[in-house]
């Protein structure tokens, strides 16, 4: 279903809908916000057991990310991405409605962009 070496998709929430999109790709990079208690704007890079152990990766009306990935593995028979990483920016205030980022989170945006570009670049080079 994908046409390019790397595709960017805005998904909204990473529940079962993720499986409509990721099947057949080698690598998956998810970019999201998180609240873990770290300083605002901290850029987290979560893989493997860190994903399985996180309580902060699930939309509440849907299966959480580790369950979605495990479900995909069961159904897709090897067609799920073998390398999954979550890049999550530590949020400051998720209780006030705004269409602007707080300065700490806004400052993290170019860091995340650079990180994703490096990851994609490395993946395409191998």
């Amino acid at each position: 279903m994908h046409r390019n070496a790397a595709d960017v998709v805005e998904l909204g929430t990473a529940g079962l809908g993720l499986l409509d999109i990721v099947e057949g790709y080698d690598r998956l990079i998810l970019v999201d916000a998180i609240q873990s208690g770290a300083p605002p704007g901290t850029v987290h890079e979560l893989r493997g057991d860190e994903l399985a152990n996180s309580a902060n990766l699930g939309p509440g009306h849907d299966a959480d990310l580790p369950a979605v990935l495990a479900f995909g593995d069961k159904l897709a028979r090897g067609r799920m991405p073998r390398d999954v990483v979550v890049i999550a920016v530590e949020g400051v205030d998720v209780s006030t409605v705004s269409d602007r980022l707080t300065p700490d989170v806004e400052a993290a945006v170019p860091v995340v962009v650079r990180l994703v570009e490096e990851m994609v670049g490395q993946a395409l080079a191998t």
Partner: protein, 487 residues
């Protein structure tokens, strides 16, 4: 006194916490569900063109954007006093029914079914979708995924994007559907009907047909005699898109039947010092605390409430399923909280039948999809049934159509009192002598999971990432704080 907090609760949208207070013997004295309030939503909307509301309000929650899209569009129609063309109405109904089917399938299979089919005493690592697939088989798992995807795809086709809908406008829709798209929706509608029937078969075999699970379903622990509210059409059948709000009492008699625009005459909101969330109650019954019975204005919304207030379902297969549910409990209304799950599957079948019916309607591919508003904008109320219950959007604008005030009453807020009652009753039943194992706490969580609460939405929050905490307190200190997502 001891206080129990489960932290974090992983199967609930938004962020909040449950505090369970134990007495000196370790038994439950009280329990509260608390939600952190979202700030600034009304201020965010003020001064913006009202026609932006159908695009802004879906951002409140990534889980039920479709319901907000519809309620906002209907409120905008009312603000401008415009009647939308028949094809536009049918497109909106098709969209909303696909939205409800998607939400119900997701909730049942990802969140509810593990409690029933895998069981609350199973290791929590298995009490999820994976454990469910181990139980029902991979082929069924594939069908869950496929049909959930169909319901999502239909929403995307009709609204421009499945999560960020844009096509409903004041006066109608921005685009219609082609014959090719219609035929595609018809195929998906047929699949959804078949799968919804299979889901009901699964429930019949594994919940009603299993003695221990059926005892849970019928347990007095998950039982409250309350009022119920929901939209019904002119025949008194369940309708998600339009109709009047009907309220029935604990004995089943009609207490009120009103236009959504008159909601302030019927629903009052109470503020409690321990909760950020307001507590709506029936104004004409009055507030008597969070208690059962005809003298208490506590009411419930969501799937079972809709079935309780309705005379029937408007589609044939769902009508049979409706009769089976009430036949099992020997009458209406049904007060068993876990039956919300069963009712959700009955509604899913209805929505699937509606998707199929509307996809074959001769007007559905019509090109007359918008009546451009010409009236002077002022004030309007839009009401739909969201997956979790009745959703009210109320806007006031200046003469140029710029938003002056916004009031939303979302479903989870309406269930606030009942959810607190349910959590307290379950906590009292299951937590004894200070013992709160994971399996016991899961039984407490089941009490509010039946309401499919959306705390992000309830607090007018943009999608939150912080799960609910449940803490156990005794003697002024936190005795236990279970980290349910961090095994």
């Amino acid at each position: 006194m001891t206080k129990i907090t489960i932290s974090p609760m992983t199967r609930l949208e938004g962020h909040g916490k449950i505090d369970i207070l134990l007495d000196s013997d370790g038994n439950v004295a009280d329990a509260y569900l608390q939600v952190v309030e979202l700030r600034g939503f009304e201020r965010f909307c003020q001064g913006r063109p009202v026609e932006e509301m159908p695009r802004i309000t879906p951002k409140i929650c990534g889980v039920c954007p479709g319901a907000h899209h519809m309620a906002a569009a209907k409120a905008c129609d009312a603000v401008y006093g415009v009647t939308i063309p028949p094809t536009a109405r049918k497109l909106r109904e098709l969209y909303l029914n696909a939205h409800i089917a998607h939400s119900h399938l997701l909730h049942f299979f990802a969140l509810a079914a593990p409690d029933f089919l895998v069981g609350p005493d199973a290791p929590k690592a298995e009490r999820n979708l994976i454990g469910l697939v181990d139980k029902v088989g991979l082929d069924f798992g594939r069908k869950v995924l496929e049909n959930r995807g169909f319901a999502q795809k239909i929403q995307g086709m009709l609204a421009g994007h499945p999560i960020h809908p844009v096509s409903a406008l004041p006066g109608g829709m921005a685009r219609g559907i082609t014959e090719e798209e219609r035929a595609d929706i018809e195929i998906m509608g047929k699949s959804l009907v078949g799968f919804s029937e299979e889901a009901l078969d699964l429930f019949r075999d594994n919940v009603i047909g299993d003695e221990a699970t059926c005892e849970l379903l019928e347990s007095d622990t998950y039982y409250h005699e309350t009022y119920y509210a929901g939209l019904v059409d002119e025949q008194g059948a369940v309708n998600f898109y339009d109709g009047k709000v009907r309220v029935v009492g604990p004995e089943g008699a009609e207490k009120a039947l009103f236009d959504g625009a008159d909601y302030l005459e019927h629903i009052a909101e109470r503020v409690e010092p321990w909760s950020y969330l307001k507590i709506p109650y029936l104004k004409n019954v009055g507030w008597d605390g969070m208690v059962d019975g005809p003298g208490s204005g506590v009411f419930r919304v969501n799937s079972l409430a809709r079935l309780n207030v309705a005379n029937s379902m408007a589609t044939p297969k769902a009508q049979v399923a409706f009769e089976e549910l009430f036949g099992h409990f020997r009458g209406k209304p049904v007060h068993h909280t876990l039956a919300f799950h069963w009712a959700r599957l009955v509604e899913c079948l209805y929505c699937a039948e509606e998707v199929l019916r509307l996809s074959t309607d001769s007007e559905i591919t019509g090109s007359d999809i918008r009546a451009v508003p010409t009236g002077k904008p002022s004030e309007g109320v839009g009401v739909v049934e969201a997956p979790r219950g009745t959703l009210y959007h109320h806007y006031q604008t200046d003469p140029n159509g710029m938003v002056k005030s916004v009031n939303l009453i979302v479903a989870t807020v309406q269930n606030n009192a009942a959810m607190n009652m349910s959590v307290k009753k379950a906590a009292k039943a299951f937590i004894k002598n200070g013992e709160a194992t994971d399996g016991l706490l899961d039984r407490v969580e089941m009490a509010f999971r039946a309401y499919d609460p959306c705390l992000a939405c309830a607090s007018h929050a943009l999608p939150g990432k912080m799960p609910l905490e449940v803490r156990i307190h005794q003697g002024g200190r936190v005795l236990d704080s279970l980290s349910r997502g961090s095994t």
